[in-house]
Symmetry: C2
Subunit: 330 residues, 2 copies
Amino acid sequence: MTTAKKLGERKIIQMIREVLSLPSMLIPFGDDVSGVEIGNNRVAILKIDMLVGKTDVPPTMSFWQAGRKAVVMNVSDFAAKGVRPIALLVALGVPPNFLSGDIEQLAKGLNAGAREYATDIVGGDTGEPSDLVISCSLFGLTKRNLPMLRRGARPGDIVAVTGFFGKTATGLKLLLANLSAPPRARKLFLHSVFEPSARLDEGLALSRTGAVSASIDSSDGLAWSLYEVGRASGAGFMIDNLPVAPEVLNFARHNGIDPVELALYGGEEYELVLTIKQRSWKKALQAVKKVGGSLIRIGRVTERPDMILQWEGKTIPIEPRGWEHFKSGK
Amino acid sequence: MTTAKKLGERKIIQMIREVLSLPSMLIPFGDDVSGVEIGNNRVAILKIDMLVGKTDVPPTMSFWQAGRKAVVMNVSDFAAKGVRPIALLVALGVPPNFLSGDIEQLAKGLNAGAREYATDIVGGDTGEPSDLVISCSLFGLTKRNLPMLRRGARPGDIVAVTGFFGKTATGLKLLLANLSAPPRARKLFLHSVFEPSARLDEGLALSRTGAVSASIDSSDGLAWSLYEVGRASGAGFMIDNLPVAPEVLNFARHNGIDPVELALYGGEEYELVLTIKQRSWKKALQAVKKVGGSLIRIGRVTERPDMILQWEGKTIPIEPRGWEHFKSGK
């Protein structure tokens, strides 16, 4: 028999899914959140996540930042579906040797994350595993026809993202591979690792436009997110405007690293990856601008299920890989 | 600074609670579940729990049983509030060296637990901590005035439980202290450890009677549950009919163990501990019998906040202790 490490997160989830007696669901199992119809055209939106210190908390990240990140990870999935989180529950697994000050910082970070997205922590539990484990569960409400799903991308739709990519992957390289960057860029990269943000305002604004045909967050990397939407929608992508952050491009060139690698396969970023109906592009753009965000057109949905990148005059196939627990582990 | 181990679970929860910006809540923070009002007199009931292999899975318990137990723990809290669980989310933390067969058994146990209480697993997440960690989050709906809270016990109310105590504590003694028992009793004790049940039917039936003034489950032990209800209600208890299982009494006498210790302070049992208005006692009794359960009168609520046990002609103070993570750890 194979070990969890060799199986990888996706195989494990597939195995579990095969065992479960799944009910018929409004939101397919495996999308970013789950939905339960509660009558009157309303749907309860539910989500559980697990942050593990060993794999999700990079070196030198503070406890406050780890607590906050656990919330942001969860809110990001609600953002991608366009659902406002209402209440948060936290199961906090604290190793026996943690100090009271560490626990206080974790709690303050959790609270700060919740306040940032106007959500309340309403309950929780604690446990004592050997690693730090933070499991957050979010609750929200929406109308039956509102959540933006992974399926729904149609050939001709515009592919767009809410920000530039590669900063977190670069920040992790600075921390783990001991590379260096100019102070200002270094600060930007590390901020992106230590204090990521969820695009909740953007997601909420976009869901009201009806312009979005599919949506996902990019926590497993841009390439992986595109594959997930592609699989769920039965479509492919032609990416002709890879959204690499300019600072990442500079860093990559200075260090002989492929910027495409950093932008496509890094993961741990919390931008939204969206497909948008062509005729509604302006409406979507305006809605995002109105909440102070940005929407970057990066390509289009194709009939052929291929994933293609056009980059510096070359046509490069996008690979189905990204951040994966059990396999990517440091 | 103090370590988590020395602080103990209750101090840790208190510390966290002081840090959080708590909203005003229908169900007080620290009760068995959380409630979010969603309009039309309806309340969403939410709960998160964390089972940790190292502390919650006794030796020789199978993965199937561990998965099932994670669900039962959670359902038991809904049972105590009289709320039907509708949907379950599971964050499963699997150590890298677990085998595919182990994961399959965990998933089958989780699914079996959900099916047993007519609930669906609708979503989840996985992670890779060093220990097995199962964090379950339950969702349900109820009317604003229906959940049975920990507060509400009034002097004169009858104290009752849904079954006999001490079997799990005895089972754990068999497993951990290498004691023995006659085969039939041994089987009973181990069953209570490995395949506990939540008293969901009893809780649902009781909540409809309006007879219950306060309710809690007994997962931290009978004594602790009484203290929790006492604190929340500002009342005390006189327990004159300690519900020790007859097999536990036998075992204790044979092995020179105090049966009161096993019944009051064992924990990991999932009976309901209830206070019931005197005039509604018959109604409560009938409701529980109708669903095939039992309701055992064990004492009464007193004005004085003391916790007193009458046992074999003696009056013994009940101590505020029970199963507590971080401190009770094996």
